[in-house]
């Protein structure tokens, strides 16, 4: 089996991550922040230390401003639906995933004005187009740090700078970039950073969150859900302070124990060790398949402008057929279709058919890339 679906979720996870989850469930598994006994405090300490790690990993302002959620989608919804009101204007790009687009379209139906700034056919965004869109007043700019379809790395810092100059809060979806592309809330002018644990942070599924910059007040975001927080229980009104205000219900502490281990693992590798490795792998793949007859590649040609994602189609063969053959005949696992990002596929000209996406990870080996390239060549030769 060759796993090239790391864009959907990274696999496998580091051994230390799996062990941390296992150890939590067997040895520390009390409810964090709900009881005063030692095991509960130990569990709370693990959760808190994960806040500290996430905060320092993304250059956040304060561990108490790290709000844990089950994934980036939840965090993005929390930020968008908690901040934006009817009549507000939101600026985004034409490369967004549905995690951003669907809540925005839903808000649009409630009277929010939406400006979608178009990107190039390779998914590249010209940041000055955002500056132009900012000429009219806006209440929020939201975009992903990298495309899940083409891997295109977006100009986060440039866009952040333009938004900051106008005093407009900037929300970044780091699902595809967090752990790969160095991101720092302070240096990149990010006010709200949504992350997921299970992709290139190499943590367990069911972990993620929103880091809230100091430009956004503690009470500015209306909670999506309310409930027990282990704090101020005498009060039937949700607490006003972070992270409790936005964190109701028992957290995924086992998952967070795993995320803590994976963040330590990532930091040992250095800030862009994994990114370079992934770019080398996708460049190897690109070179091996680029000459295949009828094969079309999407996204920037330069591997340094991409994460470890390569999207392609082969003329005359449906992407679903390519995906099925890769899986059934070669044991190569990819993701085909629209990748929950219809806007991005419209932008690159592959809507509604979609593409075949091969997404490498930290554990992908050179020979696996060679085998995948061989398989693509065989399918292209036989299928047409």
């Amino acid at each position: 089996m060759i796993y090239l679906d790391n864009g959907a979720t990274s696999f496998p996870k580091p051994r230390c991550t799996a062990e941390a989850v296992y150890n939590f469930l067997l040895h520390t598994g009390a409810n964090p922040g709900r009881s005063a006994h030692g095991m509960s405090v130990d569990a709370a300490r693990i959760v808190y230390e994960t806040r500290e790690l996430v905060n320092s990993f993304f250059g956040g302002p304060d561990p108490l401003r790290v709000v844990f959620t089950m994934n980036a989608t939840y965090a993005i919804n929390m930020a968008l639906k908690g901040l934006v009101k009817p009549g507000d204007r939101v600026i985004t790009t034409s490369m967004e995933h549905n995690a951003v687009m669907r809540p925005l379209r839903s808000l649009e139906s409630e009277g929010v004005l939406l400006t979608v700034v178009p990107c190039e056919k390779d998914g590249v965004l010209d940041p000055t187009d955002i500056r132009k869109a900012l000429k009219d007043s806006a209440e929020l700019v939201v975009m992903s740090a990298a495309s899940n379809v083409t891997g295109t790395i977006m100009p986060v810092r440039e866009v952040g700078k333009f938004a900051r100059e106008k005093g407009v809060p900037f929300l970044v979806d780091t699902a595809q970039a967090g752990g790969l592309v160095p991101l720092n809330m302070d240096e990149d002018f990010i006010d709200l950073l949504a992350f997921t644990g299970h992709k290139s942070l190499y943590g367990p599924p069911g972990t993620g969150g929103l880091i809230i910059g100091t430009g956004v007040g503690e009470k500015d975001i209306r909670p999506l859900i309310e409930g027990g927080t282990g704090s101020r229980s005498e009060n039937e009104i949700q607490p006003a302070f972070l992270p409790d205000r936005l964190e109701s219900g028992t957290p995924n502490a086992a998952g967070l124990a795993g995320l803590r281990a994976s963040l330590n693992w990532l930091m040992e590798k250095g800030p862009d060790g994994v990114l370079q490795r992934e770019q080398d792998l996708t460049e190897r793949l690109r070179q091996e398949i680029t000459a295949v007859s009828g094969l079309r590649l999407y996204g920037p040609e330069d591997a340094r402008q991409r994460t470890g994602v390569l999207s392609f189609t082969i003329d005359g063969i449906e992407v679903s057929e390519i995906g099925e053959r890769l899986d059934a005949d070669f044991g190569i696992l990819t993701r085909v279709g629209l990748h929950c990002a219809p806007a991005a596929h419209r932008t690159i000209g592959t809507f509604p058919e979609g593409t075949v996406r091969m997404a490498v990870g930290a554990f992908t080996r050179d020979e696996e890339i060679d085998a995948a390239a061989d398989a693509v060549r065989t399918i292209a030769a036989e299928g047409r």
Binding site: G33, A36, A44, P63, G230, S231, P239, F241, D244
Partner: protein, 74 residues
């Protein structure tokens, strides 16, 4: 003679953990303990410290901006 101790009560376990970390950095010795029965705090744990360190504790807490329930003698 046993040393005088005090406890700082907070509203949330995250806050207790944060204050514990900040005090450790300042080399103020403290311990997270269950809230004594005659007091009450919802999160159930509080920060116990030596009474002589009270000023340092107040200063550290002020810098975090965390709202607390106050300091009580043991």
């Amino acid at each position: 003679m046993k040393e005088d101790m005090k406890v700082l009560l907070v509203y949330s376990t995250s806050h207790a953990l944060r204050i514990e970390k900040d005090l450790k950095i300042r080399e103020v010795s403290c311990k997270l303990v269950p809230v004594p029965r005659h007091l009450s705090s919802d999160c159930g744990i509080c920060v116990r410290f030596r009474a002589v360190d009270e000023d340092s504790v107040i200063k550290a807490v002020d810098e975090t901006g965390i709202e607390t329930m106050g300091i009580f003698p043991l």
